[in-house]
Symmetry: C2
Subunit: 242 residues, 2 copies
Amino acid sequence: MRDTKAATHAQRALITLRQRILNGQLAGGTRLFEVALAEDLGISRTPVRAALARLAEEALLDRTTGGGFAVRSFAVRDVVDTIELRGVLEGTAARLAAERGAPVDMLAEAREIIRQIDRLFTADSIDMDSYSALNTRFHAHLSRMSQSDVIQRQIERIIALPFASPSAFLDDHSQQLALIKTLGAAQEQHRAMIDAIANREGARAESLAREHARAARRNVESLLDAEANLREGVPSLAILAS
Amino acid sequence: MRDTKAATHAQRALITLRQRILNGQLAGGTRLFEVALAEDLGISRTPVRAALARLAEEALLDRTTGGGFAVRSFAVRDVVDTIELRGVLEGTAARLAAERGAPVDMLAEAREIIRQIDRLFTADSIDMDSYSALNTRFHAHLSRMSQSDVIQRQIERIIALPFASPSAFLDDHSQQLALIKTLGAAQEQHRAMIDAIANREGARAESLAREHARAARRNVESLLDAEANLREGVPSLAILAS
DNA sequence: TACCTTGCCTTTGTATACATAAGGTGCCCC
DNA sequence: GGGGCACCTTATGTATACAAAGGCAAGGTA
């Protein structure tokens, strides 16, 4: 990870700080001071400020009154609401795709991704990394099918939060077996969404996408209901306020 | 306008540049150079960079590859999609308010705002500034009723764009009379939304809020269909790519 | 003539010194 | 003893000088 050396100090600082926030090393509410960070990272205040500004843009930091920055804190309800929001936005993307009519080549590509996911199921055990990558590709493609830059931007902004990404929790190894059982259902929803879009059934496409996101929500909720030790293997939830 | 002097150079630069973008003085796609802006504004590059970063955060600038900034260009479709998006988000806020149950005092306040708008209609002519202020208050309150910080943030971010605000186009004096005719319908929708929320009718609340936003969309579309000279008195549309 | 290479020029990246504002603390006066 | 004022500390705000990277143009060569 430390070998992902970017070109500039500001980019390296951005990556480092983002990671510290996402993995919970920097707890929600923590005020970030330029001088302290600069010393810690071994650079000057200027690139630190640049990195902080970008983290604020990513909604990982809040600007405090008086010009400073503080780590945004995410409560359980915020996580749930953010996933709900992803469902709403992806639902809108699906509806717009249906209403505006998706080009045949985009429909074809969506179906090709679905086919590739199907192939993963033929093996004895599922390669989670491949599934995760294909699932992410499917969702990105769905967003594109809306033919709306405005919607696409919004979705990209939301799924930048690790717990809101369509492939969040797939790297959770604690409930792997239970999770795999749900993948078949998810794939069925993928298929139905594209079918609805192809048939110009906007309302159906929208509610399918919303329901699809609910799986992630159920996942979070079951993880949080479980014993605390189950949560520790779930990197997407490290950011949660304790 | 120039007397809205903020405390710091960066804040003044932010205000000045924001205005230049919104009123179309800085056309979409224009690349913004730190040195040139600094000279123009009579300050150094440092506060200029700070202002540019914040404008990127507001989605008025895009970051270009290589570190620069360019004015975001808004096509007609982007404006329409953004209004649609506001409808979707306000719809979600209304649905969540209904599903989660709005506290009685929030319902009471919403009804009080509606009453105040009613009073405006009793006069011979409508005070558009008062209407606009109350309408904005109603929408902000609706957003709050969702009891979701995540949703509220999103809505605030969207309505920061002048053409997406619930009270956009109310200051358009070209079609004033036609506009006033629609205000009664809008007010009826306000009432129905709160009624739906109070009755825990989530789907009804959601679709009412969506339809409510459609009025703004119709407004934009009729303005754009009209002769170009009609558009010139509409500040909210100055940002539109020509 | 077309392409590649080199060098300049433009623009952003970085460090740093100094300015300024705000908040906390301690002392003094009432 | 309490309150207010002033100082000091700590933070961000600003200017500026220099570094480095990327793009463009011009010139040379194949």
